[in-house]
Point group: C2
Chain length 375, copies 2
């Protein structure tokens, strides 16, 4: 039985479980809030916890370029630095190297790139990613992987998948036994292989043989169709060990989460709830709302009458619209808190449905409600 993950209930492929880290236990399925630069944008750690968030994701690329993992370590590691006492997952930095860094050059050694902040030359290798994450002190550490832009020729899918496997082994060998703060860190491998089922199968099986504490499914939500994503998930999750957690990276809309949980995924992260909030879009139990619309100007109702978040308990749509139109920061804070609370509640409801073996009917009802726009 894994040290990190405990399976508590299954309903079809859907699973309810527990992640046990040196910074506390977390119920799964779980949505992790994205805290790119050492903060979930516009929220205090207390507000996050109040919204029901239990795990925060930090971005290795951003934190290494500014303020630097050495500075974070000097200030006690990422938990102390950002005032978050719960579990933290850090990514490898690879994704941002590809999306933000300039003049990237990938070789077997690693990725060479120029910082988007000051143009300085940087090199990210599996070993360097492990060193940075060791200094940051996250509870869950992601391997560095090589991700093809989709659609990719099969030769490219194969090359990047094989390289990602080799890098997983290098990460496993390089990660120190403890974080710089003396805590346990668990390394996740990342299943790659693009849209090729044989490559995905090979990746899942060979990664499983590495006996890592957890596994992510990467390279999805980057242009493929929903059906393609579901096919890959349906293929991959049964090949992964049942006693390890599965993390679908960078996904997604509420309906995507529901479908992925139904296919056996335990963990998610996505900028969608936080970024949408900063663009005045909120999720509700009846669909999405654009709060800047003038029809909300004198609406005394909360965003979502079924929500008990701070924004919904305390403020009207009319007031929130006013904040957004006036460009007040508080509007972004309150909408972020609502969207995170919505995602956190959806995960709790899915977990309860799995525990009670009624996930399929729950998913059907929610999918009918949350897709599209609310009135």
């Amino acid at each position: 039985m894994s040290e990190l993950y405990q399976l508590q209930a299954a309903d079809g492929a859907a699973r309810a479980g527990l992640l046990q880290t040196d910074h506390g236990s977390v119920q799964t399925p779980v949505f992790m809030a994205v805290g790119t630069q050492g903060t979930v944008k516009a929220c205090t750690p207390d507000q996050l916890a109040q919204a029901g968030i239990t795990v925060v994701l930090g971005n290795t690329y951003h934190l290494e370029l500014r303020p630097g993992s050495d500075t974070v370590a000097a200030l006690g590691g990422l938990h102390a630095f950002m005032g978050w006492s719960g579990p933290i997952l850090t990514d490898s930095g690879g994704f941002q190297v590809f999306s933000l860094g300039e003049m990237n050059r990938v070789s077997e050694e690693g990725c060479e790139f120029k910082s988007h902040l000051d143009g300085s030359s940087q090199m990210l290798t599996p070993e360097r990613s492990m060193l940075i994450q060791h200094r940051l002190g996250s509870d869950i550490v992601m391997q560095l992987d090589d991700v093809p832009a989709l659609p990719a020729p099969k030769a490219r899918e194969e090359e990047t998948m094989r390289r990602s496997l080799r890098w997983a082994a290098r990460c496993k060998a390089a990660l120190p036994a403890q974080s710089a703060q003396g805590r346990r860190q668990r390394l996740f491998g990342i299943v790659q292989g693009g849209l090729s089922t044989d490559l995905r199968r090979e990746s899942a099986l060979k990664l499983s043989a590495l006996d890592l504490p957890g596994y992510a499914i990467g390279g999805l939500s980057v242009g493929e169709t929903k059906r393609q994503m579901q096919e890959i998930l349906g293929l991959v999750t049964p090949l992964l060990p049942a006693d390890k957690p599965r993390y679908l990276m960078g996904v997604g809309y509420p309906e995507d989460l529901i479908e992925a949980v139904g296919l056996g995924v335990d963990m998610f992260d996505c900028v969608l709830p936080t970024r949408s909030a900063r663009h005045a879009m909120v999720f509700t139990s009846r669909g999405r709302l654009r709060l800047k619309n003038s029809r909300h100007g004198r609406d005394n109702r909360p965003i979502d009458p079924e929500c008990d978040c701070y924004a919904c308990v305390k403020f009207s749509r009319g007031y929130l619209r006013h904040l957004l139109v006036a460009g007040e920061f508080l509007g972004m804070t309150l909408l972020t808190l609502h969207n995170l609370a919505f995602y956190a509640r959806l995960m709790r409801l899915m977990r309860a449905a799995i525990m009670e073996r009624r996930f399929t009917s729950f998913a059907g009802e929610w999918l009918a409600r949350v897709s599209g726009d609310a009135e």
Copy 2:
């Protein structure tokens, strides 16, 4: 004895008292946080209360132009609208008409101006200011006054002071008995007269004869020296009724507040703590700090070891500097909370010193510490 104000202790000219409103009681001396557009920028109402803020100021000019006092009234008045259950003071709108409105034309009737938002023509009269503040439902309502830009020729000081007196009488006649929400509202007159002692004296005496619930000293902190401000305060406060609160508008630095309390002032407002925070400047018990400075990068100390605000209890200077350098909203929120907590604590300490008849020594010690920059 006044319904609004209760004098509890005096130490020389310095006073400790209680403001009793339909939205709760407030200890004085008090610093009111400026909530221009229906929010103290970057803070939730709960965070404000946690920082020790007890009264919020709303800007009539801003709220009337957007979202409009009719909309605020439709959403339950300003308290319900912004989720602040404590006392609220609203200004008359006159100051922003002069500083933000374009093409202002002042006549005996009122001020004609063009909105800075859409260029539309607007007219602010004493009666209209009262109607707007009646709809907003603030606990303390400010008269519309006519303010000369300093330095002004004496004829202009005299003209605007006399007009402000006439407008005070019109405001008193125009303010309905209750707010639109059925609560008591107390009208404050504003002492004007520029830098002329005879005009200030006439203004204070004639306003006192109007028997208003409170009095403000206006037209200061707009270019005069500190000595001139102190001379005016030393002249005016003894002429105002001892059983009414005194409010020095738009002031100021911690040292200004200490000196003004020593001259008999009870209430203050200023954008300084909130605006400074948004420019990365914090107040501490040992002077000011510019937190973007690179020397704070690895500093594990709080902003102010004597402060128990959320930012100081939870975060290091190094982390706060990182947020500011990275342009994260949370940096502004945390610095705003700290600066407001600093001002609120200073007021509480002054009050305790007055109650214990040791205000002079307290003021001397603080003035030696808080002026200038901290290490």
